[in-house]
C-alpha cells in the first residue's frame, strides 16, 4: 500500500517538475496570426441587451466600446476627442454646445449618419437610458437644434461636465429597433454573432471613417470559471486576457507579456453610518489607523495598486490628491486610544459582507480581518453572492461593513462624488455631512472649471477627515497578451480598445 502511495505522490511531484521546466519555452505562433484575428478571454457573458442605452454590466460596456461611439469619445489619456462629430465648440456662457457632423460616417448597416439620427439618439437616450446620472444630465437640455451638418444642444444651466455625458450618448440609426440582439453603431468594429455562454464575435468595420482597425476579427471567448480562463490563456488558446490577479501572472508559464495598469476604481471598506458603532467618527478613524494599506497591498497584490485615501482614483489627475492617502498612517496605539474615547476600550465586533465572486475583494477582506485583530476589533467575513449583495447590501443597505469598488460610470468626477450627498439614492452608507453637501452643490453650480475643481477637492478632503470609509486602493489591472500581439493601451476607464491591436509578424 505504501508503495502505491509513494508512487502516487511521486507522480504528482514529477508533474510539478515537468511544469517547472515548461516555463522556459513559450509558444511563438498563434492560430490567429494567419487570418489576422485574435481570441480574447472574458470572465462573463455579455448577458444584457446589447442596446447601448440598456447596457449595465461593466463587462458589456468594455466590449461594446468597440462598436458604439458618441459625438466625442474618450482616448487613452482620458481626453475627449472627436468621433462622429468632426469639431465642436462651446459658447462663452457655457450654455450652447455646437457639433459639426463629420461627413461620410456610415452606420454598420450601411446607412449614412444624419443630424436626424443624432437627435434621435439623444432623445431616445434621455428617455430610455438605465444610467440615472445620464438621464438627469440630459434633462437639463433646453433644446436641440439641427441643420444638415450641425447639431447644437442648448442647456438650461451651464454644466462643465457636460461633454462627458455627450460621450456616453452612443449614436444609433433612427428607427432601428433590433439593437437588443443585433447592435448597429459607428465604431471601428461591427457585431457579427454571439452564442450564449460560448462566444461573442466582432469584425472590422471596413467603412470606418478614422484609423481602421488592424485586426479583421475579434472573438471573445466566455469562460466564467477563473481557473478555466487562466488555463486556456496559459495553454495558448487565448491571445489576450485582462483583469488578471497577481497570482495568475506569477503562474503564467507560456512567455506571454504582462502589462500593468489600473482598474480605475476606488476600493474601500464601506461602512454603514446608520449602525452603531460606525455612526461615531472616532470609531471610523480608529479603523483607518488600524488598517495598514501598504501591508495589505504587499500581501494581496505584491505591492502593486495605488493607495487612494478618498473617493477619487489617480486617473482623475485633476482632482486626485495624493496626500490624502497618507492621512491615516498605520498606528495601532492611536486606534486603540480613539476606540477608548468612543467608549470601546475593549474593541468591538462586526460583520463584513463580501461579494464572493470577486477574488481581490475577498483577499483584502481576509487581510483586513487579520490587521484589525491587533486593535482588538473582531471582524467576521460573510461571503454573499452578487445578487444578494446588490439587493441586500447595495439597495437594502442591510449591512455593517462591506468591501467593493466604485468607479465613475459617467467618466467625470461627479460620478464618484454624487453618491455621498445626503439622501442620494446611491448613498449606500447613509453618509450625511452638511459641509460636504454644501461643497458638492457649489461644485455643481459653478460654470468655472478651476473653481469646480477646487470644490471637488474640498469634498475629497471632507470625506478623508470624516473617515467616511476606510479607503484602500485603486486595484492593479494585469493584462496578458501573446508576445507577438502589440498595441494594447490602458484607458482611464473600463474598456478594451481592440482597434489598436496588431500582430507583429
Amino acid at each position: 500500500m505504501k508503495k502505491h502511495l509513494a508512487f502516487f505522490l511521486a507522480m504528482l511531484m514529477l508533474l510539478g517538475l515537468l511544469c517547472g521546466c515548461k516555463g522556459a519555452t513559450g509558444k511563438n505562433t498563434s492560430a490567429g496570426m494567419k487570418d489576422n484575428s485574435i481570441t480574447v478571454g472574458i470572465a462573463q457573458d455579455l448577458d444584457n441587451s446589447l442596446d447601448p442605452y440598456k447596457m449595465t454590466a461593466a463587462g458589456t460596456r468594455e466590449v461594446m466600446f468597440n462598436i458604439f461611439e458618441g459625438l466625442v469619445k474618450p482616448d487613452k489619456d482620458g481626453n475627449f476627442v472627436c468621433a462622429v462629430a468632426s469639431d465642436y465648440s462651446v459658447s462663452s456662457d457655457g450654455l450652447v454646445y455646437t457639433f459639426i457632423l463629420r461627413s461620410g460616417v456610415v452606420f454598420h448597416n450601411g446607412a449614412k449618419v444624419t443630424a436626424e439620427d443624432v437627435m434621435y439618439s439623444f432623445k431616445t437616450c434621455a428617455s430610455t437610458s438605465v444610467t440615472a446620472a445620464l438621464v438627469e444630465a440630459l434633462s437639463a437640455v433646453d433644446a436641440y437644434e439641427v441643420t444638415a451638418t450641425q447639431f447644437s444642444i442648448v442647456l438650461k444651466e451651464p454644466n462643465p461636465d457636460f461633454l462627458s455625458y455627450v460621450c456616453n450618448v452612443s449614436i444609433v440609426p433612427k428607427d432601428y429597433h433590433d439593437q437588443d440582439t443585433a447592435p448597429v453603431g459607428t465604431g471601428p468594429f461591427k457585431f457579427q454573432s454571439r452564442r450564449v455562454l460560448d462566444n461573442f464575435v466582432i469584425v472590422r468595420n471596413d467603412d470606418y471613417y478614422g484609423q481602421k482597425a488592424h485586426l479583421s476579427k475579434v472573438t471573445y471567448r466566455i469562460l466564467e470559471d477563473n481557473t478555466a480562463l487562466f488555463t486556456a490563456l496559459n495553454s495558448g488558446s487565448l491571445d489576450l486576457v485582462a483583469h488578471l490577479t497577481i497570482d495568475q501572472t506569477k503562474n503564467l508559464t507560456n512567455g506571454y507579456r504582462v502589462a500593468e495598469g489600473t482598474m480605475n476604481l476606488v476600493q474601500a471598506i464601506y461602512l454603514n453610518h446608520d449602525v452603531k458603532p460606525f455612526d461615531d467618527v472616532r470609531v471610523r478613524q480608529a479603523l483607518c489607523y488600524a488598517v495598514d494599506v501598504d501591508a495589505m497591498l504587499k500581501l494581496t497584490s505584491g505591492g502593486h495598486g495605488t493607495a487612494v485615501g478618498s473617493s477619487m482614483y489617480p486617473a482623475f489627475g485633476k482632482y486626485f490628491d495624493e496626500s490624502l492617502a497618507n492621512a491615516y498612517p498605520h498606528d495601532i496605539a492611536k486606534a486603540k486610544q480613539l476606540l477608548a474615547e468612543a467608549g470601546y476600550p475593549n474593541g468591538f465586533s462586526f460583520t463584513i459582507k463580501v461579494p464572493s465572486n470577486y477574488q481581490p475583494h475577498v483577499d483584502c477582506a481576509t487581510v483586513l480581518v487579520e490587521q484589525l485583530k491587533a486593535a482588538g476589533i473582531d471582524a467576521k467575513i460573510q461571503l454573499v453572492d452578487w445578487s444578494t449583495w446588490l439587493s441586500d447590501v447595495y439597495k437594502g443597505r442591510n449591512f455593517e461593513a462591506t468591501i467593493t469598488g466604485f468607479d465613475s460610470s459617467t467618466l467625470n468626477a461627479s460620478g464618484m462624488l454624487a453618491r455621498w450627498e445626503t439622501g442620494n439614492g446611491k448613498n449606500m452608507i447613509n453618509y450625511s455631512n452638511a459641509d460636504y453637501d454644501a461643497a458638492y452643490r457649489a461644485a455643481r453650480a459653478t460654470a468655472d472649471d478651476a473653481q469646480q475643481t477646487q470644490y471637488y477637492k474640498q469634498c475629497l478632503a471632507i470625506l478623508s477627515q470624516d473617515a467616511a470609509n476606510v479607503y484602500l486602493q485603486d486595484l492593479v489591472d494585469f493584462v496578458a497578451t501573446h508576445p507577438k500581439l502589440k498595441g494594447y493601451e490602458f484607458y482611464p476607464l473600463y474598456v478594451m480598445d481592440m482597434s489598436l491591436l496588431y500582430w507583429d509578424k
Binding site: M1, F8, L9, L12, M13, L15, G16, C19, G23, N226, T227, F230, N234, T245, D247, Q248, K250, N251, L252, T253, A295, K298, L299, S356, V362, D363, A365, T366, V367, V369, E370, K380, I381, Q382, L383, V384, D385, T388
Partner: protein, 267 residues
Amino acid sequence: MKKYNGFLLCGGILTAAMLLFILLGCFWTPYDTTAMDPNAMEQSPSWQHLMGTDKFGRDILSRVMEGAASSLFIALCVVAIGCFFGLIIGALCGYYGGIADAILTRVCDSITAFPSFLLALVIISVAGPGTYNIIFALGILFIPSFARIVRTEYVTCRDLNYIQSARLMGAGDLRIMVAHILPNTLTVLLSALTIGFNNAILSEASMSFLGLGVQPPTPSLGYMLNESRSSINSTPWYMLFVGATIVLLVLGFSLLGEGLQRQAQED
C-alpha cells in the same frame, strides 16, 4: 480470517494517525492559522514551514491541521444525518411499500433533482452562514442516496422465506426490520457510507468555493483545495499537500470500511 487483517490493520493505522494529526490540530498548531507574513509569501516546504506557505505567508501545515478538523466534523455529521434518516426512510418504504413509499420516493427524487447550490442558498438566506447550517443543508441532500439503496435491499428481502417464517413465528414488523433485514443491508451500507463520507468532504469543498461553507479566514480543506487550484504552476506543493490530506483521510476510513465489510462476510 487471517487474510483480511491487512485492510483492517492498514485502515486502522491510517485512520488513527489522521485522527491524531487532527486532534493535535485542535489544541496546537506550529503557527497561528491566520497569521500573515509579507516576508514569507508562497515559500516552498522548508524546516520552518513543513508544507510551505500560501499567498499570504500563512503556514500551510497549521491550516491543514485546523482545516482537516472542521472538514472532518462537517463530513461526519452530514453522513450521520444522511445515513440515519436514509436508513429509516428506506427501511419503512421498502418494507411497507404503498402510498407512503410512493410519496417518500417522490420526495427523494425531488431532492436529487433539486440544485444543491439553490438549496444551500435558501438555507443560508434564512439561517445565515455557519457550520451547522451547512451541515443541515448537506445532510438533507445526502438522505436520498442512502434511502434508495436501503429501500432496494428491503424490497428484495421482505418476501424471502426466512423472513416469512420469522413473521409466522410471531415476530413483529420492527423486530423483522431491525433484527432480520438490517444485517443484510450492512454490506451495501458500508460501501455507501465510505462513498458518502468521500462525497461529503467534497461537497463541503464545493460549498465553500461558492462562499456558502466555512467562511474565510477560517481554514477548511475544501476552500484550500480551491485556492490551490489557481496557483498550480507556482506553488504545486500547496495543492499536493491539501489533496494528499483529503485522500489519506478518506482512504483510511474506506480501508477500515472494506476491512470491516470483509470481516462481516467472513463471519
